[in-house]
């Protein structure tokens, strides 16, 4: 955590998010079960789960912050560091590997000029590798934010990145 972050004021949920929180809680017989959904909401609101966001979630969940941290770090979809505007996640599992996922990974790295786990200097793209995205029949696949893109080729990657640039 850097200094800028420690000194910024504690994050707060927007009014709309607070309303959504209530809806989420109303769906479960106990408050704790809402955990994953609340964290999804928090990530959407704040971009990633910073220590400050963990504290905020601990408050609304009425649970200790250490427990929130334990949950956040167990699941790969929660980002504990800022990610770029577009989070590119390439599948590296067996069906995509068969269809040249490693070649596409190298291509993505050189196209974006970053390594896996890094973000481009303009803050636009973050590159990650993920396990099976359950679109194996249309391998190779990758995810950009909430969208899954199938039957990837270098040309398709070029088109997508040009569009988003």
């Amino acid at each position: 955590m850097n200094n800028a972050e420690t000194t910024t004021s504690k994050p707060e949920f927007s009014a709309a998010a607070q309303e959504e929180l209530e809806t989420i809680f109303s769906r479960y017989p106990d408050r704790r079960s809402a955990m994953l959904m609340v964290l999804h909401l928090a990530q959407r609101e704040f971009g990633y789960i910073s220590p400050g966001v963990e504290e905020l979630v601990a408050e609304v969940m009425e649970r200790p912050v250490t427990e929130i941290h334990g949950v956040v770090t167990f699941y790969t979809m929660y980002n504990t560091k800022p990610v770029g505007k577009y989070h590119i996640q390439l599948c590296r599992n067996i069906s995509c590997w068969i269809k040249n996922a490693p070649g596409l990974l190298e291509y993505l790295k050189s196209r974006l000029g970053i390594d896996v786990g890094q973000t481009t200097s303009d803050g636009k793209f973050t590159l990650s590798e993920v396990e099976c995205l359950a679109h194996c029949e249309n391998a190779p696949t990758m995810q950009i934010n909430d969208d899954i893109i199938c039957d990837l080729t270098k040309e398709k990657i070029d088109r997508l990145i040009d569009e988003l640039k």
Binding site: R27, Y28, P29, D30, R32, S33, A34, M35, L36, M37, L39, H40, M61, G70, V71, F74, Y75, T76, M77, Y78, R92, N93, I94, S95, W97, I98, V130, E131, C132, L133, A134, H135, C136, E137, N138, A139, Q143, D146, D147, I148
Partner: protein, 427 residues
């Protein structure tokens, strides 16, 4: 013949009106006229097996619910679809969400449960939205909510999103995750049917299993059973990926010949290629050689062949694929996904990954195959959940069935670094 995939190609089949034009919600109306126990008996007669992977008979699972427990009962639909090579539940949720809802309604009525959670993998953002919309439509129509088709039987269906953890597909891990905890598997027994979500009796079933329930009601248990093979009732969705001309998801009877699925339905291999290996039931199922694939795809036949039908995610590998590298990809996956609770699984998956990565990068050592097998065997039987076994069986299978591929790496490694073998023996 098509059952759950019948409406996959119908335009707008995810909408209530379209689904009802195509027979949707007729089976729940029929089921509500039946005694819950009669429905369970039909599902038992249908030989409907759990299609998430383990193949446990659905009706029998439902009958394990304790009769005298005053706590609420829950139905949890497993939509985690994490097994590599498997992509079938997605088709149901994308194209016919109301079929899944109808199955949920029938199952809930049969087991007397008033709350259902659909635990859907976090990456299925699109499918979660489709399900939410379908639930809203069904509620507005009076099919769900305070009453079910006017009957005094409240039912709420909640879509719960996972957050990226393969282990959460395992049912007890899924329940911990649903409770807002880390997704650590629980020791069984107690089984979820006795002590599941919030320690209440809970039935966990896969999306596809539940989606066949309306068809059991429509056809009757006996007719449904007759579509499949002995003790393996009905049909299922086979996901085919890898080196075939027409990868995709195909609905076929249980017991369809694996060779036919690959060479007829999935279009066979590319020109000039030769078949090398087939993983028949998702990445965790032991690999088959080309000589072993002339067999019926049902739970019992695959078990007899020393593999598993599992999730029926068929992964085809042809002669352009390096099997040691393929195994290293799988080992990396299991090492990444081990939840770390059991030492043999946590350490063993890590070691198998390291050894395989090293073999691929630097060549092998003559002790490698034996060491890999020893590590894998040490996990089996010493772990809380079946992930440990799922990580081990592919290693044992590849090493035993394709020794020549390992031998090539060993030959390369031993010529490159003859002096390191003594050190390598001590891992």
């Amino acid at each position: 013949m098509k059952l759950v995939s019948k409406n996959f190609d119908v335009p707008d089949s995810h909408k209530l009106a379209v689904c009802e034009q195509n027979g949707g919600y007729t089976r729940i109306r029929k089921a509500l006229e039946m005694e819950p126990q009669t429905i369970i008996d039909e599902v038992i007669a249908a030989n409907l097996r759990g299609l998430g992977g383990a193949g446990f008979p659905a009706g029998r699972k439902w009958s394990f619910l304790p009769k005298d427990n005053p706590k609420p009962r829950y139905l949890v639909v497993n939509a985690d679809e994490g097994e590599p090579g498997t992509c079938k539940d997605k088709y149901i949720m994308t194209n016919d969400p109301h079929l899944l809802l109808e199955g949920i309604m029938i199952a809930s009525w049969a087991i007397n449960s008033h709350t259902c959670f659909i635990y859907i993998r976090g990456e299925y953002v699109k499918q979660a939205k489709i399900l939410e919309a379908a639930i809203a439509e069904a509620k507005a129509a009076g099919y769900l909510g305070d009453k079910m088709f006017g009957k005094d039987f409240p039912l709420e269906v909640v879509v719960h999103r996972g957050a990226g953890a393969y282990i959460c597909g395992e049912e007890t891990s899924l329940l911990n995750s649903l409770e807002g905890k880390r997704g650590w598997p629980r020791l069984k027994p107690p089984f979820p049917a006795v002590e599941g979500y919030l320690a209440c009796p809970t039935i966990v079933n896969n999306v596809e299993t539940i989606s066949y329930v309306p068809w059991v009601i429509e056809l009757g248990g006996e007719k449904f059973a007759s579509l499949g093979s002995e003790r393996n009732g009905g049909m299922r969705l086979y996901s085919v990926s890898g080196c075939v001309k027409k990868p995709g998801v195909y609905e076929l009877p249980l017991g369809t010949n694996l060779k036919d699925i690959i060479f007829e339905h999935a279009g066979g291999l590319f020109e000039g290629r030769r078949l090398k290996a087939v993983i028949p039931g998702g990445s965790s199922s032991p690999v088959l050689t080309p000589d072993e694939i002339d067999l019926p795809m049902d739970f019992d036949s695959l078990a007899a062949a020393g593999s598993m039908l599992g999730s029926a995610g068929i992964i085809v590998l042809d002669d352009t694929i390096n099997l040691v590298e393929a195994l290293a990809v799988l080992a990396r996956f299991y090492a990444h996904e081990s939840c770390g609770q059991c030492t043999p699984c946590r350490e063993g998956t890590g070691w198998m990954r390291k050894i395989l990565d090293r073999i691929v990068a630097e060549g092998g050592r003559s002790v490698d195959p034996a060491n890999l097998e020893r590590i894998a065997k040490n996990i089996i039987g010493n772990s809380i959940c079946p992930l440990g076994e799922a990580a081990s069986l592919p290693v044992i299978g590849f090493a035993a069935k394709f020794p020549e591929e390992f031998a090539e790496y060993v030959a390369r490694g031993e010529t490159a670094k003859p002096s390191t073998t003594a050190v390598a023996a001590v891992i």
